[in-house]
Structure formats: C-alpha cells, structure tokens
C-alpha cells in the first residue's frame, strides 16, 4: 500500500513570495490533515478536511494561508505572501473515516525555508 505522498521535499523562497505544497493521501482515506512543525517543536494542526469539506481550520492564519482539497483526494496548501516565521516542516497526514480514532499516517513533509 502506497503511503502519503508529499512534494516538494524542500523549498527555499524569499519573504513575500508565494509557495504551494501538494499532498496525495492514502487511497480511501477520507480525512486529511496539514500540520506545521517549527524546528524544535511538535507539529501543530493547521487544517483538517473530511472528504472535500473543512472540519477544523481554527489555527490556520487565513490572511496568508489557504488550502483546498479537490474532489476529496489530493490537497494543496498555499502561503502568500510568506514570512520568515513560516519556515517550518509542513506535514500532511490522512486517516480512515468512520472508525474511532484510527491511526493517522504521515508523509515525509516539506521543509520550507523563508529567507
């Protein structure tokens, strides 16, 4: 079974530029998460999708971050414009829907450096 795929693995941009990350969850997983992991910290949830609907985006900085999940499968996370403090690893995860607290499977993340 293929895992959660993310691209790119690394990205370096200048502040005020825009950037987009892509995630392909495990086939059949209805729930998709984007987490932000700043160096030296634990991951923090940015947004959670159930199929193509948003379940929780309470910690998403909506003035600069946006995310979508087209057709309930792939997802993209965009930052525009980027700030220095956005430097972090962006992790995508997916899980099955319908069973209580099923395991979330994570991708390898995208490391973003804003200079």
């Amino acid at each position: 079974e293929a895992g959660v795929a993310q691209s790119p693995r690394y990205k370096i941009i200048e502040k005020r530029q825009s950037v987009a990350f892509w995630c392909n969850p495990i086939s059949g997983h209805a729930t998709l998460y984007w987490y932000q992991q700043i160096l030296g910290q634990g991951p923090k949830l940015l947004i959670q999708f159930q199929n193509n609907g948003v379940v929780d985006d309470s910690q998403l900085p909506k003035d600069r971050f946006s995310a979508e999940r087209l057709k309930g499968v792939d997802s993209t996370l965009k930052i525009q414009p980027a700030k220095l403090e956005d430097s972090a690893v962006y992790l995508c995860a997916s899980s099955l829907l319908g069973k209580m607290n099923t395991e979330a499977f994570f991708g390898q993340g995208t490391r973003l450096t804003v200079v």
Binding site: A30, G42, P43, D56, V89, M100, F106, R111
Partner: protein, 118 residues
C-alpha cells in the same frame, strides 16, 4: 483545550539498556486516546504505541511499553533493549475519542530527542 507537555528535551541511553520518556497532559475529557510517535531524520512520523483512556491495562508493543496513570494525567514510554535504530525524536500526542473525524486531530507535545549510543 488540551495541552501535552514533555519535560525532557533530550535523553541518551546505551545500546541494550532501558530508557523512559515522560509525558503529562491536561484535559477535561473523560474518554480519549494517547499516542507515542517516533520521528527519525527522514521526518516521517511513525506510530509507536497507542493507549485508550478507558482501558486500565497498559499498552505494549514489543520493546515499547507505556505507564498510563489517568488520575495523574501521566503517560510515560519505556523503551527496553534499546537499539541504534531507536535514535529519533519522540512525540507524545493526545486525541479526543470521537467517531466523527472532528475529534481525531492530534495535539502534540514538544518532543524528546533520544540518542542510543553503541
């Protein structure tokens, strides 16, 4: 809101010995799940072990076991017979027990770096 605290930034252990990682959490929920995740340099989070709060028996997965103290809101991880491949960051995480997806998000602690020395 739930919080998860890991008070040990870094732990080192000799190969084949035992190390215990601490985790405390705060919640008003009565039913929930606790997890330990391993994050090697590849950055991919890997589930190590899971504990359901309504189960009194401590979870065990091969060389990994937990000591779950619900009243004290404590959830420690013991790694026995440590191996070089155990070197990684370890994160404690909390999730509410919900059938619907809205409750499944993970709240992570700050992590503990484990270094296994040969």
């Amino acid at each position: 809101a739930q919080t998860v605290t890991q008070s040990q930034p870094e732990m080192s252990v000799q190969e084949a010995e035992t190390v215990t990682l601490s985790c405390t959490y705060d919640t008003s929920e009565n039913n929930y799940y606790l997890f330990w995740y391993k994050q090697p340099p590849s950055r991919q989070m890997i589930l190590v072990i899971r504990q359901e709060a309504y189960k009194q028996q401590n979870a065990t997965e091969n060389r990994f076991s937990v000591n779950f103290q619900k009243a004290a809101k404590s959830f420690s991880l013991k790694i026995s017979d440590s191996q070089l491949g155990d070197t990684a960051m370890y994160f404690c995480a909390f999730s509410r027990a919900q059938i619907k997806a809205a409750g499944n998000k993970l709240t992570f602690g700050g992590g503990t770096r484990v270094l296994v020395k040969p």
